[in-house]
Amino acid sequence: MSDNNEKYPDWKNDFPISQSETTSVTRRQFAKFLCLVSGGLATGSAFVAAKSVLSPDKKIKGAHRVCSITELPVGGTRSFVLEGSTTPYILIHLENGEFKAYEQKCTHLSCAVFYKPGSGKIECPCHNGWFDAMTGEVLQGPPPRPLPRLDVQVKGNDIFVAAAKEEA
């Protein structure tokens, strides 16, 4: 060891690995790591598949009262949650007199969305996503899917929401 110290700098004694060995070891490890990532992705896909098969999301049953008509002026919005769930919804009184209800969760990364009065559009401030307030369709921006919609029924003076009927 002592004459080694003469020949080699200190750092080579501290890391006694030859050059060729280092390159081949790291590439092997990299390949194994890629395989590990691949296993992780397969597991992730398994979770997605299991979740979509085992727990299809529950339907809202029946109609729920949100508020009365007088509480919601034209262009106004009101957020609400349904009993027994934590999903936020938003009820909108459009300028043309219609009421619309959507999930108040952007389909991109779940930010809260807001109705922009007078524009007929719902805005997601997080990444400048826009939805059509009439249909919930995406107008622009990163959201991949339309906003989930609820059916709104006006009975007398009260506004009720119910699960949206499946469209063909």
Binding site: E21, A31, G39, S45, A46
Partner: protein, 79 residues
């Protein structure tokens, strides 16, 4: 036991190096496909097209098995 292994271990380092690189490129390609499968499976599941998620998982699993099988052909490290 006479497999590819002995010939592989005797091959010139340039050859094994190329082989190593080829395997890594294949692995990266496969992982990219898996990312795409996971992404489209998840997005379709969220959009209530649950029919995509299961085939995507099967494909992802098959690719994972192929990746493990590829690792077997990684050149041994030199002594």
């Amino acid at each position: 036991m006479s497999t590819f292994r002995r010939a592989q271990s005797q091959a010139h380092p340039n050859k094994t190096s190329t082989l190593m690189l080829a395997i890594i490129v294949l692995l990266i390609l496969n992982v990219t496909i898996q990312i795409w499968l996971l992404y489209s499976g998840l997005n379709n599941a969220l959009a209530h097209n649950s029919g995509i998620a299961f085939p995507a998982f099967i494909a992802s699993l098959v690719i994972f098995i192929i990746n493990c099988w590829l690792l077997y052909y990684l050149p041994r490290s030199r002594q």
